[in-house]
Amino acid sequence: MGTVHAKSLDPLPMHGRDLGVHPDDLVEPPEPEQESKQEILENKDGHFCVCSRDVMSHVNGLGRTKEDLLGYEISEVFHAKNLIDVMKKSHIARQRLLRLGIFKEVEVLIDTSEGSDALPNGLDVTFEVTEVKRLTGSYNTMVGNNEGSMVLGVKLPNTFGRAEKLTFQFSYGTKETSYGLSFFKPQPGHFDRNLTLNMYKVTGQFPWSSLKETDRGGSAEFNFPLGMTNHTLKWEGVWRELGCLARSASFAVREESGHSLKSALSHTVSIDSRNSAIFPSRGALLRINQELAGYTGGDASFLKEDFELQLNRRLFWDSVLSASLWGGMLCPIGRQPSCIADRFYLGGPTSVRGFGMYSIGPQSEGDYLGGEAYWAGGLHLYTPLPFRPGKGGFGDLFRTHFFLNAGNLCNLNYGDGPRAHLQKLAECLRWSYGAGIVLRLGNIARLELNYCVPMGVQSGDR
């Protein structure tokens, strides 16, 4: 699609083309924003052109993408006042176009306005875009946990031309089959406001509770930012089928077998100022989630609250101190007791290290039943490897890690007051401490090798 142009910006030249603006003028206070009038000039196959008083903007290479979507993303360019501003704003516009996920490549070319319809002292900004293919597929095989499975994925990006995405995934395994269909639609002009619709069937096996669960259902989720916070409103309807994983499952788990229908509304608010999700070195995260089930139909009826707080701070010598706190509470509404699939679980390498996976709290004959209230906290100190081997390269992916984890999971008696609840959560505290090495895998996962000493182990924990 056209010739190759320079993709990224070179260091900005301080003296640009003379637009009647001197470099000294750049330190002037910004003028009040005037709505620069934008006209759509041409609109034919693959080519979209918008023109304002000083800047003419072209987008080449469109196929099925609709033009009104693009108008929002590149509108900032028209508010630029000089060449350097145009370059900065076009760079931002390029990032925004790439963020939509519908273009494989976006290249920007800025030139003087020439030709019969040239603007006096105007600039031509051209975005050369390459759309992604209409249909992409993937095929993987996975082996693990005594099960092999084949996963087939089909993705239709930019389905109707406004950055919608339709994904279908199908997993066929030796033990279980699951599939899911998802439709994502952002609001044109406000990519952060989007709607996702899901339909799925997933199966899970939980050996720590000798339980297997099959969920079939759908959900509708609406995300929107509000100031500094990000909100999500979601409705979910799930048909849950629980069963015993083995004939030797405890009777308490056997009593939970059967079908139930959960229809729940949930709301999540999160503020995330960390600079990375896996190895943040500064910033904080606060996420609060509440879920109300039973008022839109279904059998399950409860109110569930949980929160997560994480603070990170860089200390001397490249080390990072990280403190985190989680907690949650589940209140069944009505006379029914809570279902094992709704309760909280605690323990394992992601929460309280040194204990078996989800193996803390109420249990019956070795099967962990989960609890209705929990809290967990951790204090971590990440430092670079001692003596810094492989510095600047491979060694940077590793960190040493000292930690202190604590937590508790129990069932509360809702008749008592809050004082009694706090007391119950504070007694029988489980905690552990230790050290280890952490490896960062890309930007999505981390691998840890730890030596830990569990303390405060209660009878029944593993």
């Binding site: 048909w239 015993c244 009777f251 009593e255 077998s257 059967g258 079908h259 139930s260 229908l261 004959e365």
Partner: protein
């Protein structure tokens, strides 16, 4: 039950005596349980009473899914869970309680044959009438089966069960039968039972066996359950020795629990 599973159960069972806290689980009595499940449950209750083993009946909406084999009823004894009459008989035998010890081999074979007859004829006929007859399925079976669940799960589960039973009927060759043919089969089964019973108090003279419990469970439930038509109950009522057999067992073993077999006495006396 497979040989290995049988050996496993008897090994575990022989270890402890029958506890006081044994429980029997079945679906909800008032709103949910269907004819076939009620018959099977009553048969097990009768058998345990005949053995003199105390058991408490607990009703749960998800009893069918709790059961290890998916069938009602099942008993929870100590930490063993055993379902269906056959395995339960084996289980109690391993604990030293058996009703058929006094029989010789020929009689035992005969007993097994008659039990198979009841399972293949009466039980299958009950399932057919409940789920393959459209009127009964729509008016009684589907609403009752799905009563503990909310919409749309209730419809999904009810239809799923109906399709499953219909597939099973086709597999055993009952798919093509009409209701009249089914009633005729029930009639023939009752005739065979009536002939075997004759004038004796129980099928094998003086002592009740598991066959008596099974026959009582099915016949009594059919006589006392309201269906869309009384055709089935009428066929059984024509055999007077079977009626007196049911009454006798009810009086002997279920007298103490006044409300356990509701409306039973009145119905039988009126016949």
């Amino acid at each position: 039950m497979t040989l290995v599973a049988e050996a496993f159960v008897s090994q575990m069972a022989a270890a402890e005596p029958w506890p006081e806290s044994a429980t029997l689980y079945q679906p909800l009595k008032e709103d949910q349980i269907l004819l076939s499940d009620c018959a099977s449950s009553l048969a097990v209750q009768a058998y345990l009473r005949m053995c003199g083993l105390p058991v408490q009946v607990v009703c749960r909406a998800n009893a069918e899914y709790m059961s290890p084999s998916g069938k009602i009823p099942f008993i929870h004894v100590g930490n063993q869970v055993v379902s269906e009459l056959g395995p339960i008989v084996q289980f109690t035998k391993a604990k030293g309680n058996s009703l058929s010890d006094g029989l010789d081999d020929i009689q035992r074979a005969e007993m097994k044959a008659y039990m198979e007859l009841v399972n293949n004829m009466l039980l299958t006929a009950e399932l057919y009438i409940q789920w393959c007859d459209d009127a009964t399925a729509a008016e009684i079976s589907r609403p009752r089966y799905s009563s503990p669940y909310s919409w749309p799960l209730s419809n999904i589960l009810a239809y799923q069960k109906q399709w499953e039973v219909r597939r099973k009927m086709n597999a055993v060759g009952w798919g093509g039968k009409t209701l009249e043919q089914v009633y005729e089969d029930v009639n023939q089964c009752c005739q065979a039972l009536s002939q075997r019973l004759g004038t004796q108090p129980y099928f094998f003279n003086k002592q009740p066996t598991e066959l008596d419990a099974l026959v009582f469970g099915h016949l009594f439930t059919i006589l006392t359950t309201r269906l869309t038509s009384t055709e089935l109950a009428e066929r059984i009522k024509s055999y007077s020795n079977l009626l007196s057999f049911c009454r006798r067992i009810e009086q002997t073993y279920f007298e103490d629990k006044k409300n356990s077999l509701k409306s039973s006495m009145i119905l039988l006396i009126n016949v």
